[in-house]
Symmetry: C2
Subunit: 642 residues, 2 copies
């Protein structure tokens, strides 16, 4: 392509029309007079600017006609190739010649901006804009990230359990974290593993780093809940309590107060304060997701345990809450002591009395969430973890506990010991606890229904969804349905306010999937919990897998970590069986998938194909899910020859 | 019925022709002269004997004709009613009249003897004799039992984990158990839970009682292996170490040295030395089982881990060993210290060096078992448990361990800590250990193949079956098949002795069942391990279920304890899917079921219906399995109108 632009000027240059990092439209490039061919690409010495610039000469000034032609050519190329291109050109005696045009490599942020701009300019369709952005790239737009171009002094790599990056000074106890926060200092809480007693310290920390644990360990779950970066399972680290130091591989010693950076997206822990980039969800991002929603044909809800989470969910346009885990509500502030009193209650009456003090707190949680979600559906999972998660393990904490519950230390130790389990994952938790200690679920149901009545009185009709965890037999559902129905009736007759609710089941044991037909007869919805279902299908504890799973994946024994990429061959097969049988038991049963996998493109495509109603993922995954779901719908449309 | 027998004599009596406890043929009953109707039944005062007796008058002497007629009538009734009956009769002026005949209630032992005698007398067929005995009654013939007629002073009830009854003096440590045995005193070892360090004490004890644990806990497994009675999970007991006492419900205190009786059949622990009845497998028992074998159409093998077990298996006519768990071989004697050295090895070379010292011990185990089984198939499951089961937990034992492995205590503690798992059941064990620490399986394969060569040189052709535990993916099998094939080739070429072996998979994760088609492509057999499969299908740890499972069963939430009665609806469904897919992957794949359930009538009927090749249960369950299998075959024959 050669365009006459006048006489005299010769040289070569390169031009692009966007900032590759931000995606903003601006002219970037250079021009090298007296050069030939691609010289300007390899040398910046003696180059001039393209646009008018106070710092030196520019092509725009020197040769305005050639410059104008260049811009026209750029526009034409963008339109014809339907892409932002970097263009190499020469001027030969004023004649513009385009040598080459290559796609501008770009950041995730710029990719979104470019796709949206091309669609807004009518160059590509909105569907194509939606298809052009890799959903996996979105999370980095939602969290502060370690600058990918900065050098990384990596201390160790663990499991990135809560995305984002933060720098701060090392502290080794929750108390020190609180003290640092009080001084206004950013700190990184480093623990072997965290327990409920560390909650306040975690609130105070800029990030959390643990030596043990996996994606569902206490630190990981709470870290994601708090929205702070978290790396867990950094097994190569050692804490040297005596020296108040952390020992990293290679014998590097970090003392309390030393600066480190936790990258919860990649799992890296870096020496010092690494440069970071801020979160950047902009207008283009929002627009792209709005377009995605017009193509999407499967619902996207968020997992949200707190009013903060609910607000995030709403901000990310989740269509509701698909999983509100109620147990985290019991870890906070003074509530954990109430939980402990309940655990030490002598009988059902005393237990009920303690729960009566938890009731208004739970009700307020639910009322706040209903208010934020403004009529969108909220699915509340009743209490799930084993009770011993609420009890401390070290001696000092046990002594404190003995004081809180006014019992001799020996008795407290005996109770803690009695509640300890060989395999807590497979023990007395979920619906099993709901059945054997009925006061807990009764209190929760009452709190949910009273909050529903409050919402109704504020003019907001809420139909709460109540979900039972760890179900393995039909009778569990029948029995609890009877009890929860009774609580609903009591609240209705006491308040005179009519309301409806829906009872459903979290399908997370293989048996619940196999028996879904009969379970669905008492369940308006079935939500497949892929975390536990993966653990049970493989016989693999997520918290313990760290010691061999990486080797398994490296050797190709498992193609991928099944906790990150859903295993469609095994777990997916069980879900398919469960969905099919669930529908056989109740034709209009609502099917969904919740858990870590629900925000991944593979799981979303699978759910869409199986005709699920929605997926529910953590709030920060909602944009990924919305985009992935739209892409799955578009792909299937084009596969059908649409 | 009235028979003239002469003049004069009048009275009434009752007669039967067997001893209801032993089943022996002898005349039992009494006769009351001058009585009418049923008087002789309600009163013994003034009654005379039926047969000649030095202690007093008898009907046989007083009225020989009437007595002879009575015997004839008895014979006729037995033949006509095809059963041992208790007969009420009167004499009216010498006229014999039969008033009533009821089935003699009888012990399990007598039931076997009666059924066999009726068949041998041609009164019933052998098939009917086989159908008449309740398989569930057989175990009490194989173990010493607490006399059911003696009064029971029950201290507490736990889980009957290893059948039989034994009395002895309480000891609280393994050392004390050894000391008592050295003095020739029977003792009952009472522990919170047992660990590998207790093995020698368990060998020395007459029975074991633990406060924690379930049917698969260390105490239970070892107890069954040793054939000593064992009750576990007696959670209501407390050990008061200071007072060297055990506190039972109701505040009863038992000191060391107090006598108790452990009933491992029922789970009862009784005060004092309760009267017991000896084991009574007699000729009738053997004959009945021989007949059963002629009807049976599914194989019965035994689970046997040691030469002793193998001998039992052979004595009970098991057709082979279906499950030889190799890990128990590592707990015994000095071997556990070798295991510990291996765990503390610095690298693969050092590990291999320790394993080389275990190799001859393993080889000798296998050679002994092959010799006992004399060509019958032996299926050896490679190492399964997590390594931390071989490490102690209390401080004193850790200090000893530090000495054994010549490492500082702090290092030993760190390693123990590092190996600890949140959910050991779902952790680094089975094939996962086999893949990540390859030296263990390589040593085991070598020991198996060298023992095979030894057997071949003794003229016994053994085709060992090597089974991989906890498989969840095809690649695990492929990878280990390659490694084990290599070991076999090396042994063949080193010894010059050709031999074959068969590699198979223990299907105990839901995923292995779901992926059975592809797994079977590298597996000559699939053995469904219902213990772990039940745990994973329900998400239920057998060791932890004790705290709520009894309540669940009592409330009818689970119809039965799924660890005792196989859950056909859930677990069975997965097995069906696995069997069907396994056959699809390899038409001639051998299918079997092993684990606690395999000896129950319900599981056997299920396996037979699904076309399984065999079941494998603990040696003492083999008779139950043989009888149940025969009954299932006979029932299905009669259902088909045979």
């Amino acid at each position: 392509m050669a365009l006459g632009v006048g006489r005299g000027e010769s040289g070569s240059g390169v031009i692009q029309f966007i900032d590759a990092t931000t995606g903003e439209r601006r002219i970037i490039g250079r021009y090298l007079g007296q050069s030939q061919g691609r010289e300007a690409l390899s040398s910046t010495r003696g180059a001039s600017y393209l646009t008018r610039d106070p710092r030196g000469p520019s092509l725009e000034e020197a040769c305005p006609e050639a410059f104008a032609r260049l811009l026209e050519a750029g526009d034409r190329i963008r339109t014809r190739l339907r892409e932002e291109m970097q263009i190499e050109f020469t001027l030969e005696n004023g004649q513009l010649r385009i040598l080459d045009a290559i796609r501008v490599p770009r950041s995730a942020r710029a990719a979104v901006r470019v796709a949206v701009a091309l669609a807004e300019d009518g160059i590509i369709g909105r569907d194509e804009a939606v298809m052009r952005v890799d959903p996996a790239a979105l999370p980095q737009l939602l969290h502060r990230q370690v600058d990918p171009d900065a050098p990384r002094d990596r201390l160790v790599t663990g499991i990135g359990a809560s995305p984002g990056a933060a720098s701060g000074r090392i502290v080794l106890t929750a108390e020190d974290a609180e003290a640092a926060a009080a001084r206004g200092e950013a700190c990184i809480l480093v623990r072997r593993e965290t327990t409920p007693e560390d909650i306040r310290g975690m609130h105070a920390a800029a990030a959390v780093l643990t030596i043990r644990g996996g994606m569902t360990s206490h630190a990981a779950v709470i870290g994601r809940g708090l929205g702070i970066p978290c790396v867990v399972g950094a097994a190569e680290l050692e804490i040297d309590r005596r020296r108040r130091a952390v020992i990293a591989p290679g014998g590097r010693i970090l003392h309390e107060g030393d600066l480190v950076t936790v990258d919860g997206t990649t799992g890296d822990v870096l020496m010092g304060a690494a440069p970071t980039l801020p979160a950047t969800p902009d207008d283009s991002f929002r627009r792209l997701l709005e377009w995605a929603d017009t193509f999407r044909d499967i619902g996207v809800r968020a997992n949200a345990d707190t009013p903060q989470d609910a607000r995030l969910a709403r901000d990310f346009a989740a269509e509701g809450i698909g999983l509100c885990r109620t147990e985290h509500m019991f870890f906070e502030g003074g509530r954990i002591n109430l939980m402990r009193e309940m655990i030490f209650a002598e009988d059902a009456g005393e237990r009920r009395a303690v729960l009566d003090r938890l009731l208004p707190l739970q009700r307020a949680d639910f009322a706040a969430i209903f208010r934020i979600m403004a009529g969108r559906p909220v699915c509340i999972r009743l209490f799930d973890p084993p009770l011993h998660e609420f009890l401390p393990s070290d001696r000092a904490a046990l002594r404190d506990l003995a004081e809180v519950v006014s019992r001799p230390l020996s008795e407290v130790e005996a109770r803690v010991d009695q509640l300890r389990e060989y395999n807590p994952m497979l023990g007395l938790r979920g619906v099993r606890l709901g059945i054997t200690v009925p006061e807990i679920y009764e209190m929760q149901a009452q709190a949910i229904f009273e909050a529903t009545v409050e919402a109704a009185q504020d003019g907001e009709a809420v139909v709460p969804e109540v979900m039972l965890p760890l179900v393995s037999a039909r009778r569990e559902v029948e029995m609890l349905k009877t009890r929860i129905d009774a609580v609903a009736s009591a609240v209705r007759s006491r308040t005179g306010v009519p309301f409806a609710y829906r009872l459903g089941v979290m399908v997370e044991t293989p048996r619940a999937a196999l028996r879904a037909a009969e379970i669905a007869q008492n369940a308006a919805f079935l939500s497949f919990g892929t975390n536990d279902l993966t653990q049970l299908t493989y016989g693999l504890s997520r918290d313990d897998a760290g010691r061999f799973l990486p080797a398994y994946v490296a050797q190709g024994i498992f193609p991928e970590d099944p906790f990150h990429a859903i295993d469609l061959e095994g777990v997916g097969e069980l879900i398919r069986i469960g969905a099919e049988r669930g529908r056989r038991g109740r034709a209009d049963v609502v099917l969904s998938l919740c858990g870590e996998h629900a925000g991944t493109p593979r799981a979303i495509e699978f759910c869409r194909r199986e005709g699920f109603d929605y997926v529910s993922c953590s709030p920060y995954r909602v944009p990924v899910a919305r985009l992935s779901a739209a892409q799955a719908a578009l792909r299937s449309r084009s596969a059908r020859g649409g």
